[in-house]
Every structure is written in structure tokens, then in C-alpha cells.
């Protein structure tokens, strides 16, 4: 039996609807703000419980606030997702058919890559062979910047990756459609795109960069958790919340 929603929950939900996705720090601050606004008791360690109340009420509408991890910074994120569609058609109200086709192709390329990323050049090339209406180079570039702005893709130095929001929202779709290609992180068992790979050709396990940072932290000699081979890659630093400001 799900607990009833209060105005604090509704305010939180409205904020989620405006943003689409927020990180854990923002979620905690928002939780505090919403509870204060309506004189509700705020238990900071009960954030997930608070969000579950909202999700349970969203379920009949095929919506949910789902938690996931960013492959960039390893931090938890909360995304408001739509579960009604099992395909990219969830985006169909904002994008035309050929634009959706290009997005699907971009996903194909990303899923087929080792790095979990695809260059803008490769995307532009695939725009030439669309079955629906063709996209010109300028249109493709404009579409890509819209997809980034809408938080479906991330872009860094000309390389495109799936955004945290995209991964959280489309995980069921990706697991189904790309059953053979999709890989799971050896440490956290979630789908993985940007990662480090074990160099042992008989092993080849993948680990998210943040998961690498956490798993190998403090170890003098990092070894693959599956095959025990030396882990040759540079171990990234564990990202801290407060201190590391990018400004």
C-alpha cells in the first residue's frame, strides 16, 4: 500500500518535470526545500523513500523517477522517465521521423563501438544513408546540438556519447534491442558504454571509469577482478562531491 503524496512530494515532482534529470546533491537540496516549503519533516537519509512514494503514484501513468549512475562523474542521478514507450518513439513529439532515424543510427554506432562513443564525422556519414528523408550536413549538426540540449547525448571534442538521462531512460530498450552487443560493467552490473577494458584477449571485461576508480582505489598493483591479469590502464581519481569545483 503506497503512502499518500503530500505537497512536498508534488513540489519535488514539479521540479523534476522541469529539469528531467538531477544529481544526488541537487536531489537532496530539493528534498529539503520541498519539505521546508510545506512544513513537512525532512529526513535526509530517507530521500530514496521519499522518491519512491512519488514513483509509486506515477506508476499508473507509466512514469517513474529512476536512479542511475553517470558514466562521467560516477555520481548518482535521478531521472523522470517515461515507461509507456519501449522505443525511441518516446522522443517522437519533438523530433521528425528522419531525425529519430538518425538518433537510432547514432545509438547503433555507439553500441557497436569499443569506446561507447562515436565521432561527429561518423554520424554525418550515416546521415547520407537514411531511409526516411535525407538530412543535410547543416541539419545534422543542428539536430545534434538539439539532442545535446535536450540531454539525450553528450558531446566532448567532437565525440558523442549517450547522456546519463538517455541511459537511465532507455536502459530497458537498449537491453532488449541490443541484446547481443550490450555489455555490463563487471563491478556494478549495469550497462556500460564509456569504460576501461581488460587487455587479456580471453577476458575482455569492461568496467565503468568511476567503478574503476572506486574498485582499485588505494591498491598498489591493480589486477583484473575476473582473470587476475595486471590492469594496465591509468586508475582515475574517485570524484568527490564538495571540493572539486570546475570553476
Amino acid at each position: 500500500m503506497s503512502r499518500p503524496m503530500g505537497d512536498s512530494h508534488r513540489r519535488f515532482l514539479q521540479a523534476m518535470m522541469a529539469k528531467g534529470i538531477i544529481n544526488e546533491q541537487e536531489a537532496r537540496a530539493l528534498h529539503r526545500h520541498c519539505c521546508d516549503a510545506h512544513n513537512a519533516h525532512c529526513a535526509p537519509d530517507r530521500l530514496d523513500e521519499f522518491i519512491d512514494v512519488i514513483s509509486s503514484h506515477l506508476q499508473p501513468m507509466f512514469m517513474q523517477i529512476r536512479k542511475g549512475m553517470s558514466e562521467e562523474d560516477g555520481l548518482p542521478y535521478y531521472a523522470l522517465v517515461n515507461m509507456a514507450e519501449t522505443d525511441v518513439t518516446r522522443m517522437s513529439s519533438d523530433y521528425a521521423d528522419n531525425e529519430l532515424e538518425l538518433f537510432r543510427k547514432t545509438m547503433d554506432l555507439i553500441l557497436g563501438s569499443e569506446t561507447g562513443s562515436v565521432s561527429s564525422t561518423d554520424i554525418l556519414n550515416s546521415a547520407d544513408s537514411l531511409q526516411t528523408k535525407k538530412l543535410k550536413k547543416s541539419e545534422t549538426e543542428h539536430l545534434l546540438s538539439r539532442l545535446v540540449m535536450d540531454k539525450w547525448l553528450n558531446e566532448k571534442r567532437g565525440e558523442y556519447t549517450l547522456s546519463t538521462r538517455c541511459i537511465i531512460e532507455m536502459e530497458p530498450y537498449i537491453r532488449t534491442m541490443y541484446q547481443d552487443q550490450v555489455k555490463l560493467c563487471h563491478i556494478c552490473h549495469n550497462i556500460v558504454f564509456q569504460c576501461q577494458i581488460c587487455e587479456n584477449p580471453t577476458c575482455g571485461i569492461k568496467i565503468h571509469n568511476p567503478c574503476v576508480a572506486r574498485y582499485f582505489k588505494g591498491r598498489a598493483e591493480p589486477r583484473c577482478p575476473a582473470c587476475d591479469d595486471f590492469w594496465p590502464h591509468e586508475i582515475p581519481e574517485v570524484r568527490r562531491l564538495q571540493s572539486q569545483s570546475r570553476r
Binding site: 505537497d7 515532482l13 529539469k19 537540496a29 514507450e85
Partner: protein, 266 residues
């Protein structure tokens, strides 16, 4: 054919219209819709499973949310044609459930703003607060709107457009220039805010060159607290809000359309 819609800002739960993407569904959608009677609704409900009714309600909720994202009013005719479809015989029941869902889950109120053409909007039952840690992209626009609504309210409910433009210019928001944050300011104020029903932009007859006046739109009447405007004015001019007796009277007179509640307790 999938309808191509303009890019929305502050993208929220992407809610695709499964019903709109269905192609070739030729329903009897050109027959004008008339409200079914209570007994017809009852009969209709008996023929459907609870799951079916829930599903249809969910679709209607999604449709409203999508339109509301862009603050576009929903016409009953479109709703019936594109979403409700063959469930039109239980339309009142679906709307009842939809309204209840919006209140209980989202803190939104479904309001009919046009009784003749049956047009609906969603308004916020929760008061907009300062200091929200998660700023939505629309906040600066709302700030600008608030200024305009304040001017109109303080001046008795209708102002010539020139006054609004001059006020904005003093705030370094020039309708003639492209603004860093707002872009085409004139379009934002006379088109977007008007379509969203926050403002009315009405021609003043017999003016040469053509002049317009601004008034509060229906959504503003329902969503924006006049007391808040007076409080804001009071702070700005270091005056007691009650010193504007006329406006204070208007702000405190309970109107037929409910003003948003202040932080209610649950």
C-alpha cells in the same frame, strides 16, 4: 504521420503521443462531440475492464502534460479525436479521473478556461517559491512576466503597450533588440506569453498608428497571486502594500477563480 512539434524548453518527461503516431486510424472523428449522459457513461464503464479505463486515463494525463510543457491549452475536440477516441462514451469519467490524478499526484488543477469551445489548461496549485535549488530554464521568463503583470495590475488592469516597453527598457530589456537571455523580447511578450494565456494583447480601436494594450490573461488570473505582487511592490518602493488601497482591495477580494494556495500543510 508523426506530427513534428517545435523543440520544447526545459525538457521533462518525454511523453510521446502513442495515439498520434498511430497512422491511418480513421475514427469517426469529424462527428462533433456531445457529452454523454450519466447513464450512458455507466453503461460504457460496464463494458470495459478497470485496466482499460486506467490505461486511457494515463494516456489523457500524458497528453495534457505534453501540451502543458509548452503551456498550450488543450481543446476538448483535439483530446477526443487524438486520445480518447472510441472511449468517448465515458469521457466524463475519464476527465474526472484525470483531474483527480493531477490534483493528487502533480499538484496541478485542470481548469476549463473557455466554456464555449471547451478549452482546458493546467494551473499550478502550489505557490511558486523563491530559492528553489533546482532552477528550471523558464524561471527568468517568469521573472519578466511577473514585472509586466505587476505593471498592469498596479495600473488598474489594462495598460498601453508603450508603458510596458518603456518599463522593460528601464530594466535593460529592449524589445527592439535581441536580448541575451530572452532573445526576441517582443515575440516573447506579444506571442508566447499570449499563447500561454498569461497576457492578453488587444488592439485599441481607432488608433493611428495601431496601438495595443496589455491585460492579464486567464492563466495569470488563475496562477498569479495579486497579494504577492503587492508585497513585491511594497518592498520595491518601501511602502506598505495596504497603502495602495484600490489594488489591495482587489487583491484581497475573493474572486470566483481560486487564487493559488500558500504553503499548505499535509
Amino acid at each position: 504521420m508523426t506530427q513534428r512539434k517545435r523543440l520544447s524548453q526545459g525538457k521533462a518527461a518525454s511523453a510521446p503521443r502513442r495515439s498520434e503516431t498511430l497512422m491511418g486510424e480513421e475514427e469517426d472523428d469529424d462527428i462533433p462531440f456531445t457529452q454523454p449522459s450519466t447513464s450512458q457513461v455507466q453503461k460504457g464503464l460496464e463494458k470495459l475492464t478497470p485496466a482499460q479505463v486506467d490505461q486511457k486515463t494515463a494516456e489523457v494525463v500524458q497528453y495534457f502534460l505534453m501540451k502543458d510543457q509548452k503551456k498550450i491549452p488543450v481543446r476538448r475536440a483535439d483530446l477526443v479525436k487524438h486520445v480518447v477516441k472510441e472511449y468517448r462514451n465515458i469521457y466524463p469519467e475519464i476527465m474526472k479521473r484525470t483531474a483527480r490524478t493531477f490534483e493528487q499526484v502533480f499538484g496541478l488543477k485542470l481548469v476549463e478556461i473557455d466554456f464555449k469551445n471547451h478549452v482546458y489548461i493546467l494551473i499550478n496549485k502550489l505557490e511558486t517559491l523563491e530559492g528553489a535549488p533546482v532552477r528550471s530554464p523558464s524561471n527568468p521568463k517568469m521573472g519578466l512576466l511577473f514585472v509586466i503583470l505587476s505593471v498592469i495590475f498596479m495600473k488598474g488592469g489594462a495598460v498601453k503597450e508603450t508603458l510596458v516597453w518603456n518599463t522593460l527598457k528601464k530594466l535593460r530589456v529592449d524589445p527592439g533588440e535581441k536580448h541575451e537571455e530572452f532573445g526576441d523580447v517582443k515575440r516573447l511578450v506579444t506571442d508566447e506569453f499570449v499563447r500561454q494565456r498569461y497576457l492578453e494583447y488587444v488592439r485599441i480601436p481607432h488608433t493611428e498608428p495601431l496601438e495595443h494594450e496589455f491585460r492579464w490573461g486567464q492563466r495569470a488570473e488563475l496562477e498569479v497571486s495579486k497579494i504577492k505582487i503587492l508585497e513585491f511592490m511594497g518592498e520595491l518602493h518601501d511602502r506598505d502594500p495596504q497603502s495602495w488601497s484600490q489594488q489591495y482591495k482587489e487583491a484581497t477580494t475573493p474572486s470566483s477563480s481560486s487564487q493559488p494556495s500558500t504553503s499548505s500543510q499535509r
